[in-house]
């Protein structure tokens, strides 16, 4: 552990730990994404691989769910 008042060593590894690869240096600048290693951990490949399988799955997901009311933003997210 670093001594009180001292900086952590700014090695590549240390920097990644401290910032988790997401920093925002100044206004209107796009923050940095997560590290490639972290993104590789998060990535989930599709189970359905062929275009036909994908289309059929998407159709199953998006067809036929009918409700009697109109959903508005305030039903899932406070403003």
């Amino acid at each position: 552990m670093a001594a009180a008042g001292s900086r952590l060593p700014m090695t590549t590894e240390g920097r990644a730990t401290i910032t988790n690869a997401m920093t925002k240096a100044q206004t209107n600048e796009r923050p940095k994404p997560l590290s490639p290693e972290r993104l590789a951990e998060l990535r989930v490949p599709a189970v359905y691989r062929t275009p036909e399988e994908r289309r059929a799955a998407l159709k199953r997901a998006t067809e036929g769910l009918r409700v009697k009311v109109r959903v508005t933003r305030d039903m899932y997210r406070p403003r």
Binding site: M22, E29, L34, V44, R55, L58, R60, T62, R70, M75
Partner: protein, 208 residues
């Protein structure tokens, strides 16, 4: 589409998902508002969002979602069941046990459809823990609401250039941070915001 011989209007980093010429960046982030509209066939923009989702599936691009999205979908299903039973007074009946059974059925159906959607597309599910600090920055820098900030931060975390949303609140973010893909009816209200750094992205994202 600009009139023939006329000048293309400033996009301010906001584009219509109905535009067949619109390019799909890879990855691309999805907001809850878009997914709700795509999953529920009774929603007014269902056809538009379903068609855009099919485009995403066909193109093979990866989608980015926040873990918050599934929670908001569950909340939507619960609210629908309450609203179907109680109409405009649904908020006062959250603890009504009679609404819970249909709410559970609808919730399970909605989440199951969402999972089927994700099985058909490569995907980055971004945990809240990976976005909290950037979401806070977005709230304090741009005044964006907390839930929107989390979805935007998730997009950035996975390096998505654009988020697909029907929520005009995302227009508080500058175009240099995130491009918005929305439906045509929301273009004007999103572009009213001061998204001043959009011009460079326009040339990248729209085929000339």
């Amino acid at each position: 589409m600009s009139p023939t011989g006329g000048r293309r209007p400033a996009t301010h980093g906001v584009f219509a998902i109905e535009d067949q010429e619109l390019l799909l960046p890879d990855p691309i982030a999805l907001d809850t508002s878009f997914v709700v509209e795509a999953l529920l066939s009774t929603q007014p923009l269902h056809a538009v969002c379903d068609a855009f989702l099919t485009r995403i599936g066909d193109s093979g691009v990866t989608v980015v979602t926040s873990d918050l999205l599934a929670v908001e979908l569950a909340e939507t299903a619960f609210a629908i069941a309450l609203k179907e039973r109680w109409g405009g007074r649904w908020r006062g009946h959250r603890t009504d046990g009679r609404a819970r059974r249909p709410a559970t059925r609808l919730l399970n159906d909605t989440i199951s459809r969402y999972e089927t959607l994700l099985l058909s597309i490569d995907h980055f599910p971004v945990p809240l823990a990976d976005t909290a600090s950037v979401a806070r920055d977005f709230m304090t820098s741009y005044g964006i609401a907390s839930y929107d900030a989390i979805h935007a931060a998730s997009a950035i975390a996975a390096d998505a250039e654009a988020i697909v949303t029907l929520d005009t609140g995302f227009a508080l973010l500058p175009a240099s941070v995130l491009t918005l893909y929305t439906d045509r009816s929301r273009l004007a209200s999103c572009r009213k915001s001061d998204r001043t750094e959009a011009r460079e992205m326009c040339s990248v994202l729209i085929r000339s």
